[in-house]
Every structure is written in C-alpha cells, then in structure tokens.
Amino acid sequence: MISVYYFGAISLVLIGLYAVLVKKNVLKILIGLSIMESGVNLLLVSVGYIAGRSAPILSEGVGPNNAVDPIPQALVLTAIVIGVATTALALSAAIILYEKYGTLNIEEIRRLRG
C-alpha cells in the first residue's frame, strides 16, 4: 500500500504522459508536460517528508531533530523555476509555429523531411 501523496504524484505523471502521447494539439501537449512536472515535484517533496515533524525553519521551538528534510524542498524550488522557463520558451515556439503554419495540429505540421 503506497501513500496517498505518492499515488497523487504518480497519477499526475501518468496523466501528463498520457496527454503527451495521445493529444495532437501542441498546447495540449505542453499542458501535459506541465502537469507531469508538477507530479515530479510533488514526488520529490513527499520523499523528503518525515512523519510528525514540522517545516525546516528553526525558530520557535523547532530544533534540528524535529524538522523535515530540507534538501528536497530546495531542489523542488529549483525545479519549479526551470519548469516555468521551459514552458515559456515552448509557448513562444508554438506561437511561431502558428504564425507560419496557421495550425497547432501536429498532424499537419510535418514539413521537415529528408
């Protein structure tokens, strides 16, 4: 039996991956990637959680021995920013794509061939 947080995180990853695999609209694929990233972040934070401890801000009665693991939180902070950076860049590529081809359907965007 896995924890509900793990379950939520894996579900988000799989739902995002499903959108990437099956959907044809570029923006929908990017929404899928974004959901997948949220899932990964949730997974990373839940790995660092320790039952019964509080946030790693060491004031007002929180000592080194009753705080959760701070490293995954620091990593997720980085990962969130990286995620939004990728999303913004991908969206501007999608805008160019729409300006040039007039569509966002990947079936119709197949000009690059050998």
Binding site: V20, L33, V40, I71, P72, T78, T86, A94, L112, G114
Partner: protein, 498 residues
C-alpha cells in the same frame, strides 16, 4: 595559481553573458567580436586547467562556497573533464569565428548570449560532481539548445525545436524521478558518495532509478528511441549551432550517462541496465545509417552520420570493460574533431552558396577547392579509412566489443559501416566529379580553421600514440571509480541513511 580559480570556467561565460545587454548598443559586429574574445579567454582558462591536471596527474576539485562535499557542490576536473572542457572551449571559439564571418539573423546580441550559455552548460555538465547540479546544467544546455534550434524563426525551426522540447521535457522529468529514487534511498546527492553507498541500495530501487536516469539522458545523448528530434534540429538550426550540438552537446550527455552508470557499478542489477544500453546503442547505429542513405540534404545526412557515430560511442562505453571505455573516449575525441570539420565546412558552403542540398555541392572541387579538400578529408575519416583518426578508435571499439562477447553487435555495426561508406563516397563523387562552376573566394580565417582541423585528423591518423594516451587517462578517470571516490575529499557524516 590556486586550483580554485578553475571555477572561472563557470564564472567567466556567465558574467560575460550577463554583460551582453549592456553593450548591445555597440552594433552587431562588436557583439560578435565580443563572443570571439570571450571564447578565446575561456580556451585559455581551459588550457591552463588541462595543463595543470595532466602535469600533476591529480584532479582539481573546486568546492563552491568552501563547503566540503557532500555538504556543498564540487566540480571534479579530472583527466576526462579537463580534456573535454578544453575541447568545448576550442570548438566554441571556432564557431564564434564562423559566426563572425557568417550572417546571423537579428537579434545578434541574443545569439551571442545563447552561444555563451550553451558553452557554459556543456562545461558544467562535464565538470560537476553533484547529481542535481548535473540536472541543472543539463537543463541550461538543453534550454539553450531549444532556443538556438528555433533561432532562425522559420516554421521548420520552430517545429524541430518543439519536437526537441517535448522529448527533452519527458527526459528531464524522468531524470528527476530517477534522482528522487536515488536520493530517497541514499540521502545524498554527491556523486562520489553515491558511488560509495551504491552497494547498499535496494536492487529494485537502483534498477528503476538508474534506468530512468539513463532514459532521461538518452534524449540529450541522441540514443535511439528518443533521438527523433536530432536530425530535424541539426537541419533547422543555424550552421554554427549544428557544429556545437555535434561536437560537444551530445558528448556532454553521453559523458553524464556513462559517469552515472559506472558510479553505480556496485549495484546488484547493474548488468541488466548495461544490456539495455547496448541494445539502444546498436539500434541507434543501424537505424541512423540507413536513414542517412536516403537523404538529399548534406547537412541532414551528416547529422544522421553523427547520430550513428554517437551510437557507436555509446556501444563502446556500455561494454563495461576498461578497453571499451578507453576506445569510446578516444572515439569521442576523434568524432568531435571530424564532425566539427564536416559541419563547419558544410556550413561555410551553405553560407557562400545559400543552401546545403546535394545539388549545391556539385562541382565544389572547382568552386571552393580548399573547402572541398577539407570536406573530403573529413568524409574519408568518417568512413574509417586507415591513416585517418577515426580508423584507430573504430578498430579499438570493435576489438573491445568482440572481447566483451558482443559479436552480434560488432557484426551489425560493421554492416552499417558499409552503408556509411556508400553515402560518403557518393558525397565525395558529387564534389569532385560532377558539375562546373566559377571559383568563389574563401575567407582566410575560415580556411585556417578548416585546415587546422584537417591537419589534426591526419596527424592523429598517422601518429595516434599521443591522443591514445590522453584517451586512456581520460578513460581511466571514468572507469576507475575507486580512484574517483578517493580523490573527492568527502566529509564523514553520521546519519540514518549511512
């Protein structure tokens, strides 16, 4: 000079990239000249690091913020990293000269910033000794690569870039899940400490985590199921960018993959991951060679050839033997030289003649004899003819493959090499024996760079000893994990996970 000054390898490109917005008013030529200047400085710093590491024989460990690993992040500049950081800087310098000569679509200042940051990302990926820091540098490399792929702002470029972004996004998510599993069971992110503790990991967790990491890095390393973006990106990107992709972006991905793979070699399920990687590598070689055969565009054809060579390198590195790793590293060096030569030459032709389809290359021997000559040397080397550099590394890879018992893989690779010979000979034929044309002037700086690379190809081909000894030292750096752990000054920690 103190070894900590090697952190300039990261600090210099960063601070100069941030400086570009302040000087962009000075005009396009000035900004491009600035790029040449910074890459020269970077090459000088890299040469100093290379010289220090290879004369003392000891790696330079850069500790950010004076924190000893695993508390802080360390840069591990061992034999491999010192060599490849130099290659990255030198190739960046050549592409900077190329960009100075060629027309770059506006805005040139953004192009300069992105080129500097691509160099920074690859340098960081090769140098870092921390697995999450590797992820950050991988993202720097790949996001810059996305932006540079789409830089021409045509529909094709945007299409290739989006393809790359989607695959890269899946890859980085998978890498992060694998990292989560490894961190969750070991409680550390430092590579040396991971190697130290890997034997105590739960085999299932290790297998899932390592496979996810390999899968994530395979996008960057252009291995088979995940490399559909590569030919499109090579074709649609500006010429200088294709050079950088082939010469060092792929290498950085491959290196990261192999470093992590060998660090985890005490894991019980290690061999199953190795055979997965071998299968991917052999498929890459075969599929890419056959795809290259039917190309009409020379840039795309060379891109497929580059992918197949990368598959060959991955095959050698995944053999799990010392000979395989050495040969793979040697092939990495040779491949960087040859592909830089080919892409620069093709790009120069593209700039001068306005296109890179095979029709444009007819009669090149008469129109641009020097470029045609260097391209011929590059093609012959890529086929693997004796007396050219790739011959030596290819033969060593094949021997190592047979020694390790992968005769089927070697047979398939040999078959694919025949295909490679066919299309390169077709290319040489088109350049020298068909078509007519007027002589076109070739610029002095580009000619010098092309001749220098061609000379390197031949010198290494005739006297492979020095390059081979470099490759052996670098290969030992990857293969000898015990030495790696000993070199990193790990701080002893006590905790639940230890």
């Amino acid at each position: 000079m103190n070894g900590q000054y090697a952190s300039l390898l990261i600090a210099l490109p960063l601070i100069s990239a941030f400086f570009v917005p302040l000087i962009k008013g000075a005009g396009e030529k000035a900004v491009k000249g600035y790029l040449v200047l910074i890459t020269t400085l970077q090459t000088a710093v890299a040469a100093w690091v290379f010289q220090t590491v290879y004369t003392t024989g000891k790696p330079i460990i850069v500790m950010a913020g004076a924190w000893k690993p695993p508390v802080g992040i360390d840069l591990y500049l061992g034999h491999f990293a010192a060599l490849f950081v130099l290659i990255v800087a030198a190739v960046s310098f050549m592409t900077a000269v190329f960009s100075y000569v060629a027309d770059i679509k506006p805005p040139a200042d953004k192009y300069v910033m992105l080129s500097l940051l691509l160099m920074l990302g690859a340098t960081g990926m090769i140098a870092t000794g921390d697995i999450f820091n590797l992820f950050v540098f991988m993202e720097i490399t790949s996001i810059t690569a996305y932006a540079l792929t789409a830089y021409n702002k045509t529909g094709e470029a945007a299409e290739a870039s989006l393809k790359y972004m989607i695959l890269g996004g899946i890859g980085s998510s998978f890498f992060l899940i694998g990292l989560t599993l490894i961190y969750g069971s070991l409680g550390t992110l430092n590579m040396a400490q991971i190697a130290q503790l890997a034997g105590s990991m739960n085999p299932t967790v290790a297998q899932v985590g390592l496979s996810l990491i390999i899968f994530g890095l395979a996008v960057e390393a252009e291995l088979f199921p995940l490399n559909a973006w590569a030919p499109d990106a090579y074709q649609a990107a500006p010429y200088a960018v294709a050079v950088m992709f082939s010469a060092f972006v792929v290498k950085a991905g491959l290196y990261a993959m192999v470093r992590l793979l060998y660090l985890m070699q005490t894991v019980k399920s290690w061999h199953s991951v190795l055979s997965l990687l071998i299968a991917m590598a052999v498929l890459t070689v075969v599929v890419a060679e056959f795809a290259a055969l039917r190309q009409r565009d020379v840039k795309r054809m060379i891109a497929y050839s580059s992918i197949s060579q990368v598959g060959l390198i991955a095959f050698a590195l995944a053999l799990g033997t010392r000979a395989g790793v050495d040969a793979g590293v040697f092939h990495m060096i040779n491949h960087a030289i040859v592909k830089a030569l080919l892409f620069l030459g093709v790009g120069y032709v593209g700039v001068k003649l306005g296109g890179t389809s095979i029709e444009d290359f007819r009669g090149l021997g008469r129109r641009m004899p020097l470029t045609a000559f260097t391209l011929t040397i590059g093609s012959l080397a890529a086929v693997g003819i004796p007396l050219f550099n790739i011959f030596w590394s290819k033969i060593r890879i094949l021997v190592a493959g047979i020694e390790a018992g992968y005769t089927w893989g070697v047979a398939l690779i040999l078959g694919a090499s025949v295909v490679e010979a066919v299309y390169y000979i077709r290319f040489i034929h088109a350049m020298w024996f068909t078509g007519e044309g007027e002589r076109i002037g070739e610029g002095i700086s580009m000619s010098l760079i092309l001749l220098f690379l061609a000379a390197l190809v031949i010198v290494i081909g005739v006297y492979p000893q020095y390059a081979w000894s470099l490759a052996q030292k670098a290969g030992n750096d990857i293969f000898n994990v015990g030495q790696y752990i000993k070199n990193v000054p790990l701080m002893p920690l006590t905790g639940v996970g230890a």
